[in-house]
């Protein structure tokens, strides 16, 4: 049975539709991210799951029991969920140990039991030695760990995270991504994670819900989302990409500077505009004309930047108006102005709307 079911959930604020027709099912132990730019409705959706915001339409069920509908909402304190806030919301008047033990105290556990559980969870997040400290004496990363420990120690039915890493610096953010996934693998708590950072979502999640303007664009695993984006928005939001506009001419599809056989392209026989997404990593660069099943296009290097882990080239097919972006390994060095061959695998070209 599904752990959490959102059915056609919507939320309006006056004339503004913050969330529209949102449906999602989570299986027990699943980690799902809500990903999208700011104002896309992801935090509103999370707050509806937590019970802070009533939906204006639709229902939310947990373990088969309805917890939210426009007419009745189970209050947050009765949902047995945990939430991690953007501000951490660590209580500055309590020590680390008191912060973490608070939820257990509210649940009326015995002192001994609380102490034992608090110590155990502080060991897990490597904060045991700081148990007696006050939050003002902790770094941002340590406060984040306290927030995690406080949320997990009560063994919640569902764990909700609202952009928990956005206040941390880049290195710490990367470390904490793995930490969050590690804790999830250890405790298997059903988790909903809100973020605007695609790499955060990709590292942590089993599935990602990409949202835009209050609506779901696509729900898929990180790999499928990247390799097979369904809309222009998803292709552009998850990683970098080249958008290629094509027009059907007989058995071929003509693009800017090259053409491909319609039979090799996905969806080339469909109706509507032919817009394709082609990832910079899916294009190869070679000095010799490649042979085999790939599409070979003669081109010229128009610009480049070196980013340490890879080269970001702008390569212009001969006769094309706009260059394509191509990523190569750091050892593939081409000077600007050099003639090269682009190797394009037509099956890597994904038709988007």
């Amino acid at each position: 049975m599904s752990k959490l079911v959102l059915k056609n959930v919507a939320r309006r604020y006056g004339a503004v539709e913050a969330v529209a027709d949102f449906s999602l099912e989570l299986v027990p132990g699943e980690f799902v991210s809500l990903l999208g730019p700011s104002g896309c409705g992801k935090t509103t959706t999370l707050r509806m799951i937590a019970g802070f915001v009533p939906p204006s339409a639709g229902t939310i069920d947990m373990d088969g029991r309805q917890i939210s509908s426009p007419s009745s909402v189970v209050p947050p304190e009765k949902r047995r969920m945990s939430m991690i806030f953007q501000s951490y919301a660590i209580w500055p008047n309590m020590t680390v140990g008191e912060n973490v033990g608070f939820g257990l105290q509210v649940r009326r556990l015995s002192r001994g039991e609380i102490d034992r559980k608090v110590d155990a969870i502080l060991d897990v997040v490597q904060m045991r030695n700081l148990k007696g400290r006050y939050p003002a004496e902790l770094s941002g990363g340590q406060q984040q760990r306290v927030a995690l420990a406080r949320a997990i120690v009560v063994e919640p039915e569902v764990l909700l995270l609202d952009e928990p890493l956005s206040n941390l610096d880049a290195n710490l953010r990367e470390e904490m991504r793995f930490e969050i996934r590690r804790l999830h693998d250890e405790f298997k708590i059903t988790t909903v994670y809100v973020t605007h950072d695609q790499s955060e979502a990709m590292v942590t999640s089993d599935r990602i819900v990409v949202m835009n303007k209050g609506r779901i664009e696509q729900i898929d695993t990180p790999h499928v989302l990247y390799a097979r984006p369904r809309s222009r928005f998803v292709a552009g939001f998850i990683g970098r990409t080249n958008f290629l506009e094509g027009s059907r001419q007989g058995s071929e599809v003509r693009f800017d500077g090259f053409s491909a056989a319609a039979s090799a392209l996905e969806g080339a026989n469909g109706t509507g505009g032919l817009l394709y997404s082609l990832r910079p990593q899916a294009i190869g660069l070679a000095t010799q004309k490649p042979n085999g099943g790939v599409l070979a296009v003669e081109a010229e290097i128009a610009g480049r930047s070196y980013l340490g882990e890879y080269w970001d080239y702008q390569v212009k097919p001969l006769g094309a108006a706009k260059p394509l972006r191509v990523s190569t390994g750091p050892n593939a060095v081409f000077e600007i102005g050099t003639r090269v061959w682009l190797e394009i695998d037509p099956s890597a070209m994904v038709r988007v709307e």
């Binding site: 945990s82 939430m83 406080r150």
Partner: protein, 262 residues
């Protein structure tokens, strides 16, 4: 610059105080400064011989203490409800808390008299009516302080309590109140000190057993007992000054200007 500052201080502080102190210790204040004119008789009289003067100081402090405490608790609740939008049209509640600020104390007192003096309440001349009036008079100060303090708290702190299973009340008791302790103590002192010398409402509402120090002082001035008046005023001063000192010690030098919880 320095000279100017001394001049202002002299006009505002030193001169009035000098003559107040002189009068308090004088056998007769008209006889001027001089060793032969000094005595403690006035203090002895107001503290031990006068029928109600000592009692009036106690009344003032009890009334002010109870009023300040109830203002702080009331306004904390109202400011919380208004700031967190727990009820529709909460803004009206907030406005009602501020409204007494524009009502003169005398008018307020007459209103209280008219409302509470007739039966069945018949509160005229009792301590509760004074406390009610003081509480109303100082609601605005309490409300402005409490609402500024609450606005400085991130609501996520309370939401974290709710998510973990605590009620709103638990959040108020375990998180909001402890975090606002310092600003609430500051607000309490800001109300308590002026409440000990409130005259305009008290003068209409006191009874034989509930006379407060400010009214006592006013009566003495009517009777022309300036030496006793000065002695009583000085006693009041000496008793409240330590509170100011405690406030500054506990809350920092600028506690009267404090508007945020840190």
């Amino acid at each position: 610059m320095f000279g100017y500052a001394v001049f202002v201080a002299a006009l505002a502080m030193f001169l009035p105080y000098l003559f107040l102190i002189q009068a308090a210790f004088a056998k007769a204040w008209g006889r001027g400064f001089g060793l032969e004119n000094i005595s403690l008789r006035n203090f002895h009289f107001v503290l031990f011989e006068h029928g109600t003067a000592a009692k009036s100081v106690l009344n003032s402090f009890v009334n002010a203490g109870v009023s300040a405490t109830s203002v702080v608790i009331l306004t904390l609740g109202v400011a919380y409800i208004v700031t967190r939008r727990l009820v529709p049209f909460g803004g009206i509640l907030g406005f009602l808390c501020i409204a007494p600020f524009v009502i003169p104390g005398v008018v307020l007192a007459i209103g209280f008299y008219a409302a509470y003096a007739p039966p069945p309440l018949a509160l005229c001349g009792t301590a509760p009516i004074l406390i009610l009036a003081f509480t109303t008079r100082f609601l605005p100060i309490g409300y402005v302080n409490a609402s500024a303090a609450i606005r400085s708290l991130n609501p996520e702190m309370e939401e974290a309590v709710c998510v973990l299973g605590g009620s709103r009340l638990t959040a108020l008791r375990r998180v909001v109140a402890p975090l606002l302790k310092r600003s609430l103590l500051g607000a309490w002192l800001l109300i308590f000190i002026p409440a000990t010398r409130e005259l305009s409402a008290a003068i209409f509402l006191y009874g034989p057993n509930t006379k407060v120090a400010s009214v006592m002082i006013f009566d003495m001035s009517e009777e022309g007992n300036f030496e006793y008046l000065a002695a009583l005023a000085l006693i009041l001063q000496v008793l409240t000054l330590p509170l100011l000192w405690i406030g500054q010690k506990a809350l920092g030098r600028d506690f009267m200007l404090r508007r945020t919880a840190t």
